[in-house]
């Protein structure tokens, strides 16, 4: 599937469609390894530190969800049942980090390079549709919300509040021609996608 980033966003289709944003936190450039050879040990050591730091930030982000609800004792009438309000915060374990920490300096560049290709293997963080806008226009709208938006709730604002940068995102989409451009269909498809992928920053 074709993905788009800030570098090639002008190629995003000028058509309606369904789209998703993915997190792309790790790549050689994002850990300071620009170019493909001749990195010093210091640069690789720094890159490894950045790799771990960025991965921790990523994990913290995807486990930043919070569940709120009530528990009620089963089998008793309402007035005699015990009730609990529960708040559960997501958290991460360090298990996945251990393997990363064990990587040798020689492996860091390659690891980051492959990791970059795997971004869309993870769940999308936002799924949306466009009906009265092109996919390109919607991307720009989200980007502007992120960069210049006020405190009005938006995907861009939620990105900002989570300490992510716009170039930490990949955009992917499916164009829908005019024959499939039926509001009911794509609205249902959006709900279907959201319910199976549980995108963290989609709120409705």
């Amino acid at each position: 599937m074709i993905t788009y980033s800030v570098d090639n966003m002008s190629l995003i289709p000028k058509n309606q469609g369904i789209y998703a944003f993915y997190i792309n936190m790790i790549s050689p450039a994002k850990i300071g390894l620009i170019g493909n050879e001749g990195f010093s040990n210091d640069e690789l050591l720094n890159a490894k530190k950045l790799l771990i730091r960025r991965f921790k930030k990523y994990l913290a982000f995807i486990r930043s969800d919070k569940l709120v609800g009530n528990l009620v004792e089963e089998g008793k009438a309402e007035h005699v049942s015990r009730k609990y309000s529960i708040i559960a915060n997501g958290y991460t374990s360090s298990g996945s980090l251990e393997k990363m920490m064990a990587l040798s300096l020689d492996e860091i560049y390659k690891y980051a390079k492959i990791s970059e290709l795997l971004s869309i293997f993870a769940q999308p963080i936002y799924v949306g549709i466009t009906t009265n806008q092109t996919l390109f226009d919607r991307y720009i709208q989200h980007k502007n919300d992120f960069e210049y938006g006020t405190d009005k709730p938006s995907f861009g604002l939620r990105m900002r509040k989570n300490g992510l940068d716009w170039d930490d995102l990949l955009f992917s989409c499916v164009e829908l021609g005019t024959d499939t451009h039926n509001k009911n269909i794509i609205s249902a498809l959006e709900k279907q996608l959201q319910s199976v992928s549980m995108p963290l920053l989609s709120v409705r």
């Binding site: 980033s5 800030v6 570098d7 090639n8 966003m9 002008s10 790549s27 050689p28 450039a29 994002k30 850990i31 300071g32 390894l33 620009i34 170019g35 493909n36 640069e43 720094n46 890159a47 530190k49 950045l50 730091r53 960025r54 390109f136 226009d137 720009i140 502007n144 940068d165 716009w166 170039d167």
Partner: protein, 687 residues
């Protein structure tokens, strides 16, 4: 035996009112408002007089610049007008206070920090001392008008209430190589220069003059604070450079390039300053190379064009070009400066209640600025130097300058006495920035200087592509470079490698003395040139950039570019790049078409190469269209019903020229395919 105290080492004393200036958490400046007699004016120092004996530092080079023309033309006549006695007696004159900064000097070099503050008290007095530099003496005061101060006393900061109307400052004004202070003028150096010149000429005019002076101190710029504070403490030169720019920004004195070079508020200013500094320090470039980068133009208007025939470029052009091409794209800035590698320094994990703003072109903290400085020096300055000194045409122009200045230096060394003096004056103006004197005794130097410039002008016209001297072309170069850097970011190639490719591309585009950019080429008229005059518009810059990048549309040129990246490439990558180049050619021809139609609309009535009947047909159609548009504005016609016959006729007449331009361009670019006219790219905001 009595120990010689620091106090006894002080040699200059003044009393005055003390103050502390700050806002919220800003870095504080303290001051003593006092006055100097005309005799004492010699204790003040002009920035240009603290130049170190070796390794001239660019920071000092820019602060020492004095516009002597302005002094003679404006300030001196203000103090010493040639008027009748009656007129003189009615004249009222006044200078606002001079601002003099306490600058630490050791071994004749400016120091970055003050010594650590030490406090003491003695009966009714409190002392704050930066040992060996200066000392403040306050009366203790518990009254209602007392002012709270803090000083470092016996290993902790202690508060005192003091009187601020009468405070004594003792300074050790430096002599020789020991540590001491200089009172360096950061505002009013032209006023001081004038006063000193007048005193030199005729003491009687201002003999009993007393000048208001405000002595400024940066008490927190100390090593101790630097070591113990979580945020970066600005150095003394940084603090006063800030003030120098702030106080001078709104007046004519500091203008043009100086506002760029002395500012710390945007990435472009940092780049320009480091570029000049690096060129000056570069053993293969040095002062001769700095001389061909204009950095001391005084007026804003002249600062964005090249003023001297021997110059390669100007800081004003570079600043404008960088801001246009990179200022709005923080992601590209992140890449070109490899800010990702410094993420932990720019945005530390620990909070400490200190905000670390997202770095943009105009937003960064003092701590982040330090890191930006380092990244700029490592990643951006080398490619920038290469663009201006390695690209073939710029290199040719620089070699011409080097050859001609060498001839002058030879005369200085080996010529007869008169010749040598004249040549020295010219060399001083060009390489040392010491203007040739304005009196008639320097006439011969001026003539020699003019000859030098003329000679270079003629050689450059004969040997070098003229297009490189246009500021709009240089701005287009940066736009092209930024486009290629976006490509480099996508495939994760270093800025240096992209610059290799870019230089290769420029060399291809500018071969044969840049003839493809000549005004006599059919596609260059209307689009870039109006007759022989270049159109200095933003659209022209984009068009020139498209034209440069269009060379990549020829597979041979694209291959050379990709090879220069040194990364290997696939057939698909080559095709993609060729398509990119051909799209740029299309954009250029589209621009040509728009501009051609525009000029046709404005000139067809007097274009006698068009038949009279045809011109009348055009006029009739234009009238009809205007009438319809008026009716649309008045609400009595739909926009869709506006007659478009005039547009069609313009299209018809312009078509021939567009085809001709397109054909000529295709041949010169070595394309196998036709160039069609259409817009391809959208900008980052989708416009």
């Amino acid at each position: 035996m009595k120990k010689i105290s620091q106090t006894e080492a002080y040699n200059f004393y003044k009393s005055g009112s003390f103050g502390r200036f700050y806002s919220g958490d800003s870095f504080p400046i303290e001051y003593i408002q006092t006055s100097f007699t005309s005799d004492e004016l010699n204790d003040l120092t002009l920035a240009r007089d603290i130049r170190p004996p070796d390794n001239i530092d660019f920071d000092l080079l820019i602060q020492r610049d004095i516009d002597e023309v302005r002094v003679k033309r404006e300030i001196e006549p203000y103090l010493n007008p040639k008027k009748s006695l009656a007129e003189l007696k009615a004249k009222v004159i006044f200078f606002p206070p001079l601002l003099a900064a306490v600058i630490p000097i050791q071994d004749k070099k400016m120091q970055y920090y003050y010594p650590n503050e030490v406090g003491s008290q003695d009966g009714e007095f409190v002392y704050r001392e930066w040992p060996g530099l200066y000392k403040l003496k306050y009366f203790k005061d518990g009254g209602v008008n007392s002012y709270p101060i803090e000083t470092y006393l016996e290993e902790e900061y202690v508060n005192f209430n003091v009187e601020i109307e009468q405070v004594e400052i003792s300074l050790r004004l430096v002599k020789g190589s020991q540590l001491g202070a200089k009172l360096v003028i950061i505002d009013g150096q032209h006023r001081l220069f004038t006063l000193l010149t007048l005193l030199d000429k005729d003491t009687s005019i201002i003999e009993n003059l007393v000048v208001p002076v405000c002595i400024l101190m940066s008490p927190n710029s100390t090593q101790n604070r630097k070591a113990n504070y979580p945020v970066e403490i600005p150095t003394v030169p940084e603090v006063f450079r800030h003030l120098f720019v702030d106080v001078n920004k709104t007046v004519e004195l500091v203008g043009g390039h100086f506002n760029i070079l002395l500012s710390d508020n945007n990435v472009s200013s940092l780049i320009c300053r480091h570029l000049c500094d690096s060129v000056l320090k570069d053993s293969t470039l040095g002062p001769k190379a700095l001389a061909v980068i204009e950095w001391n133009t005084k007026t804003a208007k002249e600062s964005t064009t090249i003023q001297r025939h021997y110059s390669l470029t100007s800081i004003g052009i570079i600043d404008q070009a960088l801001t246009e091409s990179f200022g709005d794209n923080k992601y590209l800035v992140k890449y070109i400066l490899n800010l990702a590698a410094r993420e932990t320094d720019l945005y530390p994990d620990e909070d400490n209640d200190i905000e670390h703003p997202t770095v943009t072109w105009t937003t960064f903290s003092t701590t982040q600025k330090k890191i930006l400085d380092e990244q700029i020096i490592s990643f951006l300055i080398p490619p920038l130097k290469r663009i201006f000194f390695e690209t073939a045409e710029f290199n040719k122009a620089f070699c011409i300058f080097e050859e001609e200045i060498e001839k002058l230096l030879n005369i200085v060394k080996c010529g007869d006495a008169d010749d040598s003096i004249e040549a020295k004056g010219v060399v001083n103006q060009i390489l040392e920035y010491i203007p040739i004197g304005s009196s008639s005794s320097h006439d011969k130097e001026r003539i020699r200087y003019r000859k030098f410039e003329l000679n270079i002008k003629e050689r450059r016209e004969a040997e070098v592509a003229t297009i490189i001297s246009y500021s709009i072309f240089q701005r287009s170069m940066f736009l092209s470079w930024s486009e290629l850097l976006k490509y480099g970011r996508q495939i994760n190639i270093s800025v240096d490698s992209v610059t290799n490719g870019f230089i290769k591309l420029l060399n291809i585009a500018l071969k044969h003395k840049g003839s493809i950019f000549n005004f006599d080429k059919p596609y260059m008229q209307h689009s870039v040139f109006d007759s022989t005059k270049i159109k200095p518009k933003s659209e022209t810059k984009k068009a020139l950039s498209s034209l440069t990048l269009a060379f990549l549309g020829a597979p041979e040129a694209a291959k050379l570019f990709l090879e220069a990246l040194g990364n290997g490439f696939s057939g698909a990558e080559l095709s993609e790049l060729v398509e990119f180049g051909q799209n740029k050619a299309s954009e250029f021809i589209r621009h040509y078409e728009k501009e051609r139609k525009k000029t046709f609309r404005g000139s067809y009535k007097v274009d006698f190469s068009i038949d009279k009947d045809d011109r009348e047909e055009l006029m009739k159609a234009e009238e009809k269209q205007k009438l319809h548009l008026r009716e649309v504005r008045e609400g009595c016609r739909n926009k869709a019903d506006v007659d478009n016959e005039f547009d069609n006729l313009v299209e018809k007449y312009a078509k021939n020229d567009v085809e001709l331009a397109s054909k000529a361009l295709k041949e010169l670019l070595n394309y196998n395919t036709d160039i069609i006219s259409y817009d391809v790219e959208l900008d980052d905001n989708g416009e």
